[in-house]
């Protein structure tokens, strides 16, 4: 089956990839646009001998995952905007207790109930810990169904490697679209790496205690320093990004997910038309962020145009990376709006024409 191409919905592809990564516990709660994932798991999980629970709420779901992860299983949950907001306390707990897990946020338009159109406006929440305390989760930003598969599998590995949650930040288009995909072989997940801390039968060993509370003076700060070191290691080792036609580009677009696909079309279209030479840097991890790669662009004095489906969130990370060394402009949609190829090309033109950075909100204009 390895090389057979399947036509799969993004949401279902995540589910199948998770199963092949050895995930045997899923708890979730329905919400559009990720329902196919929950539904897929309800069908497939029992077939694989795993547990599917439709929890009473997103809060219950993340706390079930907390328990299941503590018991040594590869676990996951998924939701969209409002549901992910409700999980913030639980995610903070997972980080504090150093429990691995994987989750997907198939983003919809916010704030509030908003709409169910594709969006990227949960970028800050994902990359900076929407919950309380100093913590980070590893954030993957796939842009094709194939990448949903590959990054899901990687997501479980990274979570286990660092005993920390990792997540996919997708959007409604990615979750809902179908594309041919090569499904990966199942990994044989070996939970023995967790026998040193996972809950279970305590016969003949020291007992295990899993907690995030550290009241004795100094213990929490020392623990957080330990987390910090782990995060520094992740920043050093786990950055991923793609470069496309960057070398000779006058303007390099920085975009991820669905916005990056549109940007890629724009790069090709602009080059076909013989207009401005565009290139694309596509972050595949949003945290850790490809700071150095972007700083390199800045060193080359290339113009930078951030294209995002949120109001200047990715933009901040890019500006932090560039640190004043290049002109960084912004093209921003939100609330379900998508940039078009034409808008991107036009915006790139404005970047080149202006000596100052420009910020373009097409709907605002």
């Amino acid at each position: 089956m390895a090389e057979e191409r399947l036509l799969m919905k993004g949401n279902e592809a995540i589910g199948e990839a998770a199963l092949r990564a050895g995930c045997r516990f899923y708890a979730g709660y329905p919400i559009t646009p990720q329902n196919e994932l929950t539904e897929y798991m309800s069908r497939r999980m029992p077939e694989e001998g795993g547990t599917f629970i439709q929890a009473e709420s997103e809060i219950a779901a993340i706390n079930m995952v907390y328990g299941a992860s503590a018991a040594g299983a590869r676990t996951m949950t998924s939701s969209s905007g409002p549901g992910i907001s409700l999980k913030q306390e639980g995610i903070s707990y997972l980080c504090g207790s150093e429990l691995p897990c994987f989750y997907a946020n198939i983003v919809r338009g916010g704030p509030g109930l908003g709409n169910i159109a594709p969006a990227q406006s949960d970028y800050f929440q994902s990359t900076r810990g929407g919950g309380h305390g100093d913590y980070r989760v590893v954030v993957f930003a796939p842009s094709t169904v194939q990448e949903l598969v590959d990054l899901t599998i990687l997501g479980f590995e990274v979570a286990d490697r660092y005993n920390n949650p990792s997540m996919i930040l997708g959007d409604g288009i990615l979750g809902q679209m179908m594309e041919p995909v090569v499904m990966r072989e199942s990994v044989t997940y070996d939970p023995s790496g967790k026998t040193g801390w996972a809950l279970g039968n305590s016969e003949g060993r020291e007992r295990h205690m899993i907690t995030s509370v550290r009241l004795a003076p100094g213990t929490l700060e020392r623990h957080n320093v330990h987390l910090r070191k782990k995060y520094l290691e992740i920043e050093a080792k786990e950055v991923r990004y793609e470069l496309y036609e960057v070398d000779d580009a006058d303007v390099v677009i920085i975009a991820y997910g669905t916005a990056a696909r549109v940007a890629k079309s724009a790069v090709t279209a602009a080059r076909e038309k013989g207009g401005i030479k565009l290139g694309l840097l596509r972050p595949i991890t949003l945290w850790p962020f490809p700071t150095d790669a972007i700083a390199d662009l800045a060193k080359n004095k290339q113009d930078i145009l951030v294209a995002e489906m949120s109001f200047g969130q990715l933009y901040e990370d890019v500006r932090l990376s560039v640190c004043g060394k290049a002109k960084v402009s912004l093209l921003a949609h939100t609330g379900g709006g998508l940039p078009t190829e034409d808008e991107i090309i036009e915006a790139a033109g404005k970047c080149v024409a202006s000596s100052e950075p420009v910020e373009i909100y097409p709907v605002l204009e």
Binding site: L7, P180, T258, R261, V262, S265, T340
Partner: protein, 178 residues
């Protein structure tokens, strides 16, 4: 070659199945393809539509802003998408339900009495397949044979009873236009 199609209709008209079948058939023929439903209004009673791209090369963006081809299964779909078709493109109109004519003169209008034809075959539910048959003939996006073969892969279990009917409808649609 790249073909960008938008298919639209009422919730019950099988628009998603049409799109899925087109996309699946494209994959089977070794082409690049994306399918993307408007998963609309988390609410009932609206129109459903989906965007399909079939291409010989990698497809960066799955979003179809200027379709080469639109299938309008009802009047709301005609109203919504007529203006977005690229000049020189084509619109397929389900003339069983849509009496209104296309206003633009820079696109081609193909009127197919899909419901009537389908009803003639035994069930108006197969109107979508009749329509898709026409589209395949006209655009050559994929071969009708691979669509016919792919049908059993994309029908839900419940719908498998209608496999033969659907095949017939596809063929019939293919023969309808020249």
């Amino acid at each position: 070659m790249t073909t960008r199609v938008i298919m639209a209709g009422f919730g019950g008209q099988g628009v998603v199945l049409m799109g899925t079948l087109l996309s699946y058939s494209a994959m089977v023929q070794g082409k690049h393809t994306t399918f993307f439903p408007s998963y609309g209004a988390e609410m009932r009673g609206g129109t459903a539509n989906c965007s399909v791209i079939v291409s010989d090369t990698e497809i960066p963006s799955p979003v179809v802003n200027e379709p080469d081809c639109v299938i309008a299964m009802n009047i709301a779909s005609l109203d919504k998408f007529e203006s977005r078709i690229r000049p020189g493109g084509v619109i397929f109109v389900n003339s069983s339900l849509v009496k209104k004519k296309v206003a633009r003169d820079d696109i081609e209008e193909i009127r197919v009495p899909a419901n009537d034809i389908a009803e003639g075959l035994g069930a108006s539910r197969a109107a979508n397949m009749v329509m898709l048959g026409c589209v395949l003939k006209k655009t050559g996006a994929v071969a009708v044979d691979s669509a016919v073969k792919s049908l059993e892969k994309v029908l839900s279990e419940r719908a498998m009873a209608l496999l033969e009917l659907n095949k017939k409808a596809l063929q019939r649609g293919f023969e309808e236009v020249s």
